[in-house]
Subunit: 304 residues, 2 copies
């Protein structure tokens, strides 16, 4: 059996939390593209983000991928339809899996979504949650990404910032909100800190882990019907119905797969990384995200 | 007399502190280019920054500028020589004016430089200060820009972060360091907060205000010899010798020109802004930086 080739796209290193969650569940060749020369997408317009994401999609398709994961909330929120229209392989975004998981675990049908400014402005999560019958308040937390990239994962400043952001979010949230959606791929790294701040009755849903489960499901279903690697059936963003197992397993924050689990069985997983800016800086941050030494990083230039 | 046309280039809104300082001193047509679709430059490689900056230089030259100010520490630090080689007008960066000012005010010939990661990695300030006979410790402060852009100018979190960064910087600084160089154009906005944290004996030098003084000097000297607008004499980055008045006036932080001073005599100053991403977001941030409503903002697309 030939392993599937899974393209993973993000503006930078955040999508590595999605890669890590997938690698823990699914043997595959992973091709990760980090558009580090043009990050962060979180402050950019929809047109700009779509243009960048489609450029990366074309690049990954030229590497012969079977499926593309948009492991970037901003790109999914602002440009998923454009990316799907331009792509020739099935495309999975991170918004719908996170929303579906939130719907699974919320008793009160009310959620708080924390994300970058662009993801919040797009209202992609509010709209997706509404499809599942949940009301949501979306809160932009622009300092979390730089705090994570500074390495202040367990730091008093990060805790103070989190208390301010979550205090503001809670004050504006719909009554009874009982689920917190981490709608930025950087946020799983501060999930333990957030867990200490939010009430014990509040579930934390991590869209990185939720997406990994959806992708595993898609690949497994496809392999069951086509044992050798072949073009996967074109897919729309998977619906809750398509993923009955979504609530189980690793999708609740705090249950991120460990580095050893994620990176074991190396013979059944290969990793290749492409970045548009400094290889060294990517290696340094990626090591923090994946919890292991990262090699096999190549610089590519998409122009601009 | 025709007013000079001064191009001002930055990756985003930070260069507006340089624009504000210039506008307070010098009647001119100001054309500001903020490469907001590709910010921040502070995390990017020298090659990428040079490519972006030269694209912006070509755009501003096509708008008929007489002089170009690289109002961005990262672009100056990483790409000034490349920009000068590509430009057909005199180019002024922000590094040398800040270093010259620090040399003027330091008694102990020792400085602390705070900046973005890329500016620090380039050691542009350390090298420039050494030319003036000063030793320096350079400290990266990656959280200051997002804190300023969040609007947390006078905020306990910003103060806590500043105490951590400056504590680390002081511990590693050369003995007797008596000047703090704000080597990022965002930092003048938190200068009052920094002033409360550093010892009273430490001078704070603001490279935005220092650069404005150098530009005024260049324009005045040129106008004295050529009363009508004409091509300015090609210039290298101005040396301390060329700017005898550098220590006077507004260059010490805390003496940033007021919004009313900067924007008075409107008849003798015009402003035009070009940005590569959202016009609305730029207007919102620019209003905070300039302390006045900002209009006349146009979106441009340089590709990529």
């Amino acid at each position: 059996m030939t392993l599937p080739r899974i393209g993973v796209f993000d503006s930078g290193v955040g999508g590595l939390t999605v890669l890590k969650a997938m690698a823990a569940q699914l043997p595959a060749h992973y091709l990760y593209f980090g558009d580090t020369a043009r990050l962060p997408y979180g402050t950019k317009s929809a047109e700009t983000v779509a243009r960048y994401a489609i450029g990366a999609t074309k690049f990954l398709e030229a590497q012969n991928i079977d499926l593309l994961v948009i492991a970037c909330n901003t790109a999914t929120a602002l440009a998923l339809a454009d990316i799907k229209a331009a792509a020739h392989v099935p495309v999975v975004g991170v918004v719908e899996p996170g929303a579906a998981m939130a719907a699974e675990v919320s008793k009160n049908r009310a959620a708080i979504v924390i994300a970058t400014e662009a993801t919040v402005s797009s209202h992609a999560y509010r709209n997706a949650l509404r499809q599942h019958g949940l009301e949501a308040h979306e809160k932009a937390c622009p300092l979390f990404v730089p705090l994570v990239e500074e390495g202040w994962i367990e730091h008093p400043v990060t805790e103070q910032v989190a208390r301010i952001y979550l205090g503001e979010a809670t004050a504006q949230a719909p009554a009874g909100a009982d689920v917190l959606v981490l709608a930025c791929t950087h946020y799983p790294l501060i999930a333990p800190l957030l867990r200490r701040i939010v009430p014990a009755t509040m579930e934390i849903v991590d869209s990185a882990a939720s997406t990994a489960q959806v992708v595993r499901k898609m690949i497994e279903e496809n392999l069951a019907s086509h044992p050798e690697r072949s073009g996967l059936a074109p897919a729309t963003e998977p619906s809750r119905r398509a993923c009955p197992g979504l609530v189980e397993g690793t999708s609740i924050s705090g249950a991120m797969p460990s580095a050893s689990a994620a990176m074991s069985s190396a013979a059944h997983r290969t990793f290749r990384f492409y970045v548009t800016d400094s290889v060294e800086k990517f290696k340094r941050l990626a090591t923090r995200f994946l919890g292991r030494q990262v090699d096999n990083v190549e610089h590519v230039d998409l122009g601009g």
